[in-house]
């Protein structure tokens, strides 16, 4: 009997075919899964197992010109809870409040408010100690979490607070270079792929280089921390002595337009932003405008010489203190002077002499002088909130303007505009936009910036800088070396003299507008001094502006601002190792001059 004849043969055959069919079905299903549904299923699996999270870029450090750290970033943990899962009672909230140094009442009120929501910040940026305390609490599962955030810290505390600016709790730039250079500082966030298992545990973190965050390592400013400290300390002393409503100091390198220091009062500490007065947020160097007074006179003289409206040998009859202009306006001087040459007009700060120069130049010439030196428009410094000043259109100028503009009235400027314009005189006639950004360090070459990038230079970025010609070099040099040097040698700026160096400068005392009377106030002044050194090759220019110093004396820039500027100049020149250019013995013959005697 053959197997085919066996009674079980058909059963075996049927079973075999059934098995083959079953395998066939499985094979077909596999083909269906692997061929037709593969993409969709792979996508579904990826969605279930992979999570892509954003990795924030570490904000770039900010350093001074010597690499001293001004602003740095550290990571800190912020605590959030899911109130739905949080079965809270008073004891737990009390423990949480103690761990995070929050007030119990406030926290319990917030938890009550958020009880129907799925997310609530408990506290942002906890200290390490607070994080440890929070972790030691017995939390319900899935009810809380920490989010890593970058926190900006300011190791130099108040120094250069107005230049640096700050970021809010969410890391958004709000002021200073933090805001203006935000594209360089903030960087670009990256991505990170996390692979999770079925129990939602992270089993793999995929760090692909192309998805890494991009940022510069550091942004370098032109500020010099030592000079900044000199300026801040002198300004602090000035504020203690004269109690002004506001004051500012700017120190600038005239050839490059680089800001070496910028201090503003009132100020604040970026490390402690509780209880900051409203006025303290304002950067007085760029966000206030004032009538410059006598510090404006050198520009008119320089432009008059440039336009050949006057020569250095011209003399002006100052009529012993009272003069009536061509339009009928009466001008008065503080001192009674007779014939004065151009140098003496500036040294004695004669309003009558300047009014006569204004008569020669007429409004068109004066307007050209004002605009040529950059007034009426922002200087372009990389700081946000810079004002343009107030410059009325020429059509609105009257015969009154012909007398006012030459003595620094009817025009309002920012301290930054004024120092930029004086730097133009100090550097031979080139008006340069001041700059605070020196460059950037680090691997950020793939970032989109408006700056030119050179990989061979450690300073990768050089911001564009505007330069405009103002007056001829010989005219600018003459204004610096003659009248402005004489102002400090024997004029109203005598208190800015410093041993070993020749100094040039100009004082300014401007009456403030009084809204009550609609005229100039008799008691509120803005006093200022602008000066630089050494005269033959100016390395530094300093501007000190003091708004409403509290005094019953007749306030003058030479008395309040000049000594401060002198001390800052002295320390800055020593710090920069600029060689002395003046013989002390020859300087001694000027010692008999005294400011109070001069002003009588």
């Amino acid at each position: 009997m053959t197997s085919a004849d066996s009674p079980h043969a058909w059963r075996t055959s049927a079973f075999t075919r059934l098995i083959f069919c079953a395998w066939g079905v499985v094979a077909l299903r596999l083909i269906h899964l692997q061929w037709y549904q593969a993409e969709e299923l792979a996508r579904l699996a990826t969605r279930q197992s992979e999570v892509v999270v954003e990795v924030p870029a570490r904000p770039a450090d900010i350093v001074d010109r010597n690499g001293k750290l001004l602003v740095g970033s550290v990571t800190s943990q912020s605590l959030f809870v899911d109130p739905k899962y949080l079965k809270v009672d008073a004891d737990f909230i009390r423990a949480l409040a103690e761990a995070t140094h929050l007030k119990f009442e406030e926290l319990s009120t917030r938890v009550e408010e958020y009880k129907n929501k799925r997310f609530m910040w408990v506290k942002r940026r906890l200290s390490d100690e607070e994080v440890d305390r929070v972790l030691s609490l017995k939390w319900p599962k899935n009810s809380f979490g920490f989010r890593e955030e970058f926190q900006r810290q300011y190791p130099q505390d108040e120094l250069a607070a107005h230049v640096l600016g700050l970021r809010d709790i969410d890391g958004e730039a709000k002021a200073g270079v933090e805001l203006s250079l935000d594209p360089l500082i903030k960087g670009k966030p990256g991505k990170r792929k996390l692979v999770k298992d079925a129990r939602n545990r992270i089993v793999e973190v995929d760090y692909s280089p192309e998805d890494a965050p991009r940022q510069f390592q550091a942004v370098q400013l032109t500020l010099d921390l030592a000079i900044q400290l000199f300026a801040e300390r002198e300004l602090e002393k000035l504020c203690e002595e004269w109690k002004p409503s506001a004051a500012t100091v700017i120190v600038m390198e005239p050839r490059s337009g680089e800001l070496l220091a910028l201090a503003s009062r009132p100020t604040y500490s970026p490390n402690d932003l509780s209880d900051v007065p409203e006025e303290a947020w304002k950067n007085q160097a760029i966000s206030i405008v004032y009538e410059p007074g006598s510090t404006f006179k050198p520009f008119i003289v320089a432009w008059g010489l440039q336009q050949k409206a006057l020569t250095i040998d011209d003399t002006f009859n100052c009529h012993f203190g009272t003069y009536r202009m061509q339009g009928g306006r009466q001008i008065r001087d503080v001192g009674k002077h007779g014939l004065l040459n151009v140098t003496e007009v500036l040294v004695k700060s004669s309003n009558i002499g300047m009014a006569q120069i204004g008569d020669r130049m007429q409004n068109e010439g004066l307007y050209a002088a004002v605009t040529r030196f950059g007034f009426g428009r922002p200087t372009g410094v990389e700081l946000p909130g810079e004002l343009s000043g107030i410059l009325h259109p020429l059509e609105k100028w009257t015969s009154y303007s012909t007398g006012s503009i030459p003595m620094g009235q009817e025009i309002a400027v920012t301290p930054m505009q004024l120092i930029a314009a004086h730097c133009a005189l100090a550097n031979g006639g080139r008006l340069i936009s001041p700059r605070v950004l020196k460059g950037v360090f680090g691997d950020g070459s793939t970032m989109d910036t408006t700056f030119t990038v050179s990989m061979t230079d450690p300073l990768l970025a050089t911001p564009p800088q505007i330069q405009t010609a103002t007056v001829d070099e010989n005219i600018a040099d003459w204004v610096i070396k003659e009248p402005m040097a004489e102002v400090v040698r024997r004029g109203t700026g005598i208190k800015a003299r410093i041993p070993g160096y020749s100094v040039f400068g100009k004082t300014g005392t401007a009456q403030k507008y009084d809204p009550k009377t609609g005229g100039y106030s008799a008691k509120n002044f803005v006093v200022s001094f602008i000066g630089g050194a050494p005269v033959n090759d100016p390395k530094v220019v300093v501007l000190v502006v003091v708004d409403e110093p509290h005094t019953f004396q007749r306030v003058l820039g030479g008395k309040i601002a000049a000594p401060v500027a002198g001390r800052i100049l002295q320390r800055t020149l020593l710090h920069l190792r600029v060689p002395p250019d003046r013989d002390e013995r020859s300087a001694a013959r000027f010692d008999e001059f005294d400011l109070d005697t001069l002003l009588e």
């Binding site: 570490r58 001293k68 750290l69 740095g72 970033s73 550290v74 990571t75 810290q153 190791p155 130099q156 505390d157 120094l159 793999e204 973190v205 995929d206 760090y207 921390l225 030592a226 400290l229 041993p499 070993g500 320390r571 020593l574 190792r577 600029v578 060689p579 002395p580």
Partner: protein, 112 residues
């Protein structure tokens, strides 16, 4: 027939085991990379913290106060600066300043 079948099965099993071992090694390498990246992040943050701390401790405001409290002062050089030869491209600068009084740091005295 049996040997051929057994050999094929053993070969498949061996290949599978090798594949699994390679996959495990690959996974371990990737985990190690993840750990290294994590360590790098932690070190970067530690570096930032330490740098901030060192800069806070060496803040110019603190140093100047310490120096001034000890009575030292910046002094101008007594001698005129040495004039460099004309072919030297470096700009002329004043010599470094020096302190009127030596800094009295007890740690320096401890060195013996």
């Amino acid at each position: 027939m049996f040997f051929r079948f057994s050999f094929a099965v053993i070969l498949i099993v061996l290949l599978s085991l090798v594949g699994i071992a390679v996959e495990k090694q690959n996974l371990e390498c990737r985990r190690e990379m993840s750990r290294q990246h994590y360590r790098m992040d932690v070190l970067k943050d530690q570096h930032a913290r330490l740098r901030l701390r060192s800069q806070k401790l060496a803040a110019i405001d603190r140093l100047v106060e310490t120096i001034e409290q000890k009575g030292s002062q910046l002094k101008q050089p007594e001698k005129a600066p040495v004039v460099r030869p004309q072919d030297d491209d470096e700009p002329r600068r004043a010599p470094l300043l020096f302190w009127n009084k030596p800094l009295l740091d007890p740690r320096l005295n401890d060195r013996g």
